[in-house]
């Protein structure tokens, strides 16, 4: 890189957003250091990663200015915490859907002044970001659209509503016909809430265009993931995870373009035999709970221990982009139904039964040419934690090396995790 990487600051903007500027002003420096150590130390990165580096440099500034411009034009800006909230309907209204901050240890102490300690770190981190006024995205949104996928979240929304208007979408926990009916109703309510902000009702054409836009975004990630499966890997797992994280706050059309540019480069790399790790490098699939930015802990441990991550079976990963919406609808009702059907295919462990997820993990294992699975569970995420038992059984039957890890954002278990990951790699390589 010609100029040194630096996460940018804009105290004036942060002041305007009502942030705790004194406290937040240390954040860009910390992120600069962390990003430099974790990402820029990697050898032989694709040149097209420069755009995504730029997205990180502008995470608290440039992108916020763009979002505020949309907001000031009267369009909705909605924060979410889950891939079940249909971003297509926000884009249809000309608005911005942003996955909110929830991946850092730094805000957990703020949350624990109010919330119990023994709940999911992602929920605590997110709540802490709002309470501490240290996330520009949280400050920029009109409202947060939460959901009922887990107990920690649905009860925290009640408290979060005191700090920012928080709506809740009921996501059923089974996938029967009667659940689908409820779900479609919830999607319709969501549309009403979104349209209310802009004061205009989104039309069939708006929705059709938005479905195309988000389908294209998901398709770009599908293409990238399939190129990334090549052995030797043309891109690191850390860089892939970063792009999957940026998908939640970037402008979707530009993002898809940039992902395709990267894909073009990776195709050329594959043809020229350029890679980030030799063919003999052990290949790991990571499955499980989401890794919100800047949670790079497990990927960093795996890739500094001599292996490469070749797939994320995760909300911030394939669960976000594996399915597209049918584009052939002729009425708004039909669009909403097709949309709901697509969202019903997401195989979150909050559903019972959820055996299709086990099949999906095995499928991705085979497609990615992985040699072992590390299942990642955020601490206190009971549904993924328990589902790991079935996944481990399925792996055992097929002779797939499998290891389950439960962790939070704190650095205190890094030593132990490193030992476990290294031992798992030894197990794979024999």
């Amino acid at each position: 890189m010609s100029e040194a990487f630096q996460v940018k600051s804009d105290p004036e903007l942060w002041e305007k957003l009502g942030m705790d500027v004194a406290r937040f002003s240390g954040m860009p420096g910390m992120l600069t250091t962390a990003y430099t150590n974790v990402f820029l130390s990697q050898k032989n990165r694709p040149a097209a990663m420069a755009y995504f580096d730029g997205m990180v440099e502008n995470i608290h500034t440039g992108r916020i200015h763009e979002i505020m411009a949309v907001k000031e034009s009267g369009k909705p800006v909605i924060g979410t915490f889950c891939v079940y909230v249909p971003e297509e309907l926000i884009v249809a209204a000309g608005g911005v859907c942003v996955g909110l901050c929830g991946g850092a240890q730094g805000s957990i102490a703020d949350a624990e002044k109010i919330l119990p300690r023994n709940i999911c770190p992602m929920v605590k981190s997110a709540f802490g970001f709002k309470v501490g006024k240290i996330c520009p995205y949280f400050q920029a949104v009109d409202l947060v659209y939460g959901e009922t996928t887990c107990d920690a979240k649905k009860k925290t929304w009640e408290l979060l509503d005191r700090y920012v208007p928080t709506h809740v979408m009921e996501i059923p926990q089974m996938k029967r016909e009667r659940d689908k009916k409820l779900w479609v109703e919830e999607v319709k309510d969501f549309k009403v809430a979104v349209d209310k902000i802009s004061g205009t009702e989104t039309s069939f054409d708006d929705i059709a265009a938005a479905i195309k836009t988000i389908n294209a975004k998901r398709a770009s990630l599908q293409r990238l993931n399939s190129l990334r499966h090549h052995n030797p890997s043309p891109i690191s797992g850390k860089d892939m995870l970063l792009i999957e994280q940026i998908a939640f706050y970037d402008e979707p059309v530009r993002f898809a373009e940039k992902v395709h540019e990267l894909c073009d480069e990776l195709e050329k790399r594959i043809a020229d035999g350029i890679s980030v790790a030799p063919v003999s490098t052990p290949r790991i699939l990571v499955s499980g709970t989401p890794m919100a930015l800047p949670n790079w802990k497990l990927h960093n441990i795996i890739e500094t221990s001599g292996a490469v991550v070749v797939n994320e079976e995760s909300c911030i990963g394939t669960r976000y982009y594996k399915d597209l919406i049918d584009e052939g609808s002729t009425t708004v009702d039909q669009q909403l139904e097709r949309l709901t059907e697509r969202y019903m295919k997401i195989d979150c462990s909050c559903f019972t039964p959820n055996d299709e997820r086990i099949d999906q993990v095995i499928k991705e294992y085979e497609e990615s040419g992985a040699q072992g699975i590390i299942d990642y569970c955020l601490q206190f995420c009971h549904t993924y934690n328990i589902e790991a038992i079935k996944l481990s059984e399925a792996c055992k039957q097929r002779g797939i090396p499998f290891m389950a890890i439960e962790s939070d954002y704190s650095p205190d278990d890094v030593g132990q995790l490193q030992t476990r990951v290294e031992a798992f790699i030894e197990q794979i390589t024999g």
């Binding site: 290891m403 278990d413 030992t419 476990r420 031992a423 030894e426 197990q427």
Partner: protein, 251 residues
């Protein structure tokens, strides 16, 4: 000549392996700078090929020319050398406990480690012994003196200590409390082994395997013979030394 060094959280173990036998071994308490202790040992054998394992392996690698392997692989190699048919290893050291499963050729097929917590480890036993006024050996012997135990509900070292204090204040004899602590630890380790699955016998390595009372209680819980090496704490260091000797043959 091959040296295996195991830099554990509580002790430093070293094994010198030559012509198919252990010709020297050493177990010392970790000081504030364990890698200096390790380097001092290595200086006595300047021509040996060295493999390090344990918590401090990466730190030592920054100071000396050597290979590293994890404790899991090291214990697998070491236990298999001592007990050629073993398929399940329980290793309980100062800071963590683990169960390692091997295939018929001795390769690791899966393993489990306790997380982020001293429960059921050597450190836990040490803390409980101190709070009862025993040294470690006397603590194990006291626990064997009685058949009765009072329930200890918490496996968290901090909470368990306050339970022990409250049992003391109820006038319960120290031997009974010692028995209780042993029962609780044995129960926890047995659950960990049962979760992994085990065959018709088990090898128990790591410093905690020196505690005969605990071995007996565990044997009773799991109902299979538990094989304890003569010096259980050096199994990892032995495995590291063997790794060095075998990878040389492969080259």
């Amino acid at each position: 000549m091959h040296i295996g060094i195991d830099l554990g959280s509580r002790t430093l173990k070293a094994v010198v392996w030559q012509d198919g036998a252990i010709i020297r071994h050493q177990v010392t308490e970790s000081s504030f700078d364990p890698h200096h202790q390790a380097l001092a040992f290595l200086e006595q054998h300047p021509t040996a090929r060295v493999v390090a394992t344990g918590y401090g392996r990466h730190l030592l690698q920054q100071h000396a020319e050597l290979d590293v392997i994890t404790e899991i692989k090291a214990h697998a190699l070491g236990a298999r050398q001592l007990f050629p048919n073993c398929r399940t290893i329980l290793d309980v050291g100062g800071q963590d406990s683990k169960v390692i499963l091997l295939d018929e050729r001795g390769r690791v097929t899966s393993f489990q480690m306790n997380d982020k917590c001293a429960a059921g480890t050597g450190r836990f036993l040490e803390m409980m012994a101190v709070s009862l006024g025993y040294d470690l050996e006397a603590f194990g012997r006291a626990a064997a003196e009685t058949e009765v135990g009072a329930p200890i509900n918490s496996m968290c070292a901090v909470f368990a200590e306050s339970e022990v204090v409250s049992l003391k204040n109820q006038g319960i004899p120290p031997a009974t409390i010692a028995r209780s602590v042993h029962l609780a630890v044995a129960g926890r380790l047995a659950a960990m082994v049962a979760k992994s699955g085990y065959g018709d016998h088990l090898v128990f390595s790591g410093g905690v395997a020196n505690n005969a009372t605990l071995v007996a209680l565990l044997e009773k819980e799991l109902r299979v013979p538990i094989l304890v090496p003569t010096i259980p704490s050096i199994v990892g260091a032995l495995g590291a030394a063997l790794h060095g000797s075998r990878s040389l043959i492969q080259e």
